[in-house]
């Protein structure tokens, strides 16, 4: 109940934003919303003590499903294309998850990295299908049969993205307080005890993995609409690294973290590419180090601590002894 006013204010802000902000800012905000779904996916796994250096793979599979369906099948309806993107990512995560969900820690992280690099290489080399480095152009889709253009298209796309991403956050919030969420947290704390409760750890991780794949696919499809152009770099490790970065920085103890983190990140990045093209990754790495070593709850936890809510739950415990 106490959170209601804050939620309402946030909703009002998001609705009002595109009417107040300049066009470029609406563009960035839409993109940030889309990417926040992927950050949320990475954060969801982080809560289970799992880090994926390869979620760019599912981001790319969502985007490429949209691009290919548009180019090869001539589909233009946004809802249909989004569904296809999510389905493609679910399929990819469902398949890879069969292997990856068996592993934790190092193996989980590196297998994801390895598979995303394979996907990158495949997208690069199968020129006939994917256009190689040229990528695929994605035109503005029709939304519920309406084909907007110009400023209207910008608004349509913004609200379309908002209408899909905010519910996704709500779903993850609910999952977090469902048996699945609690089990995930328990696995992070002590996997053996979870097994003793006659619960299949692998099945829980698999479910979380497929859900994270679906979220990433949603993000990929929405980002493809907004950017209008998809390239193999979507699957490259730098893309995955940025998702991990924002997830860690935003903190995984609270749901708004990934959302606020993505928006801040996207705007910062647009400036940084102008002033710090060669030091961007370096700044990311340094910032991430500082947060991991000194502020394990993420930046959002700082805000919560200032607001006097006490110590938030973090995805790893303090070092013992």
């Amino acid at each position: 109940m106490t959170r209601r006013p804050g939620l309402l204010a946030a909703a009002a802000l998001f609705v009002a934003a595109p009417f107040v902000l300049p066009a470029w800012a609406v563009f960035l905000l839409t993109l940030a919303l889309a990417k926040s779904a992927v950050v949320l996916a990475v954060a969801l796994l982080l809560r289970g003590g799992l880090v994926s250096f390869g979620h760019g793979l599912f981001f790319a599979s969502g985007a490429y499903a949209v691009g290919l369906a548009m180019r090869r099948l001539g589909l233009h309806e946004a809802l249909l294309l989004t569904a296809l993107g999510v389905a493609a990512s679910i399929a990819a995560a469902g398949l890879l998850g069969l292997l990856i969900a068996r592993y934790r820690g190092i193996f989980f992280a590196m297998l994801n990295l390895a598979f995303s690099m394979v996907a990158y290489a495949v997208l690069l080399k199968f020129y006939d299908l994917t256009g190689g480095t040229d990528g695929i152009g994605v035109r503005t889709p029709t939304i519920l049969g309406v084909a907007p253009s110009g400023a209207a298209a910008r608004l349509w796309l913004y609200f379309y993205t908002l209408a899909l991403v905010l519910p996704a956050f709500y779903v993850v919030h609910r999952v977090w307080y469902s048996p699945l969420g609690y089990m995930l947290r328990a696995i992070r704390d002590n996997e053996v005890r979870v097994e003793y409760m006659r619960t299949s750890v692998r099945r829980i991780i698999y479910a979380a993995y497929v859900l994270s794949g679906a979220l990433s696919g949603l993000g990929g499809a929405l980002a493809a609409f907004r950017v209008g152009h998809i390239v193999p770099e979507l699957a490259y490790w730098t893309t995955s690294g940025e998702f991990v970065f924002v997830a860690v920085l935003g903190g995984t103890g609270s749901v708004p973290g990934p959302l606020v983190g993505s928006i801040g990140f996207e705007f910062l990045k647009s400036y940084a590419s102008k002033y710090a093209a060669f030091t961007w990754q370096m700044a990311l790495g340094a910032a991430m180090l500082l947060v991991i070593l000194f502020l394990p709850g993420g930046l959002w936890s700082l805000a919560e601590r200032l607001a006097g809510k006490g110590r938030p739950w973090t995805w790893f415990s303090k070092p013992s002894g």
């Binding site: 880090v51 820690g105 590196m110 790495g285 180090l289």
Partner: protein
């Protein structure tokens, strides 16, 4: 001329020299070519993977930035060679410059990284260790661009100087042979260090029981610095030696770490013999794929890795070795 840069195509992104076509070659020479290329590629992989697995064996940390250290070695080696060539000294000494670059990079980077980044995270959760070394990976990626720029470095002198020879009618660069010899020597030296020297035994002791070693008077933190620097040296050495065969450019690091991880996983994480076996398996399979089925060459390494993980998750060399580095 066959340059043999083919097998490290994916390792380095771009390969130098022309790619020889083997269509129409006799049935006898093709297997030979595959074996020669495969063993050479295995040597390259072993040099990268040995350091990764050694550092993991001692510290239980998988250094995601290991590939970056490899790339740093490649750049440092290339820079030293270029600097040396400018002085106009006797050409054969160029190899010393190459090695000096690798050693210098390792001696500077190794202790620095260990003290600043790894020390606070020993014994912490995997996630923390992975994220910290991943951060280092990001930092080094740009640091390299700042120091060496984004344009590729071609330093072919150490390669060209040795010339080529023929093995049963197949032309083969002597530099490749030298690289294989170095890989074997490195593996042997590392084994000798761990098994036969006092310091090596101390490293093993610390790996097995850190607290007991400390209680018995072993300077544990010194052992860690030493072991990590040795692992770093393996990476930079590998990079410096492979450097003359490839275009050293951004992107080398990520390919190296992904491949090295695959090799280490196939052999068994933390096992030196496993790294050697994994490198051979991957090297030969990939060489066979390059020459017989170029279409699937891209995914062979990962297919082997997946197969090994499915049927023998602890890697081919299992768990017994794992405890012993």
């Amino acid at each position: 001329m066959r340059t043999g840069s083919d097998p490290i195509d994916t390792l380095a992104g771009e390969a130098r020299g022309e790619r020889a076509s083997h269509r129409g070659q006799s049935l006898v020479t093709l297997p030979l070519i595959i074996v020669l290329d495969g063993v050479f590629y295995a040597a390259v992989l072993f040099l990268v993977a040995a350091g990764l697995t050694f550092v993991y064996g001692v510290t239980r940390i998988l250094n995601v930035a290991h590939g970056s250290l490899y790339a740093v070695g490649a750049y440092a080696g290339a820079s030293m060679v270029l600097a040396y060539l400018r002085t106009g000294g006797p050409l054969p000494l160029v190899y010393l410059a190459l090695l000096a670059g690798a050693v210098l990079a390792a001696v500077i980077a190794g202790p620095l990284v260990e003290r600043l980044l790894l020390r606070p995270i020993y014994g912490r959760e995997d996630v923390v260790q992975l994220l910290v070394t991943f951060s280092l990976f990001l930092i080094l990626e740009d640091a390299m661009k700042l120091v060496w720029g984004v344009y590729p470095y071609y330093v072919a002198e150490p390669y060209g100087l040795l010339g080529t020879m023929t093995v049963a009618g197949v032309p083969y660069a002597r530099y490749q042979l030298a690289l294989c010899a170095v890989a074997v020597a490195t593996g042997g030296l590392l084994w000798w260090f761990v098994e036969r020297t006092r310091t090596g035994r101390l490293v093993v002791a610390v790996t097995v029981d850190r607290e007991m070693s400390a209680a018995l008077g072993v300077d544990v933190s010194r052992v860690y610095v030493l072991a990590f620097t040795a692992g770093t040296l393996l990476a930079t050495l590998g990079g410096a030696l492979v450097g003359p065969l490839i275009a050293v450019a951004p992107g080398v690091s990520v390919e190296a770490i992904v491949l090295a991880f695959a090799v280490v996983v196939i052999g068994g994480l933390g096992s030196l013999g496993g790294a050697a076996l994994g490198a051979l398996v991957v090297g030969l399979t990939r060489a066979a794929a390059v020459h017989l089925y170029p279409e699937v060459e891209l995914v062979t390494v990962y297919l082997i890795m997946v197969a090994v993980l499915l049927f023998r998750p602890q890697g081919l060399f299992g768990e017994v070795e794992l405890r012993r580095i």
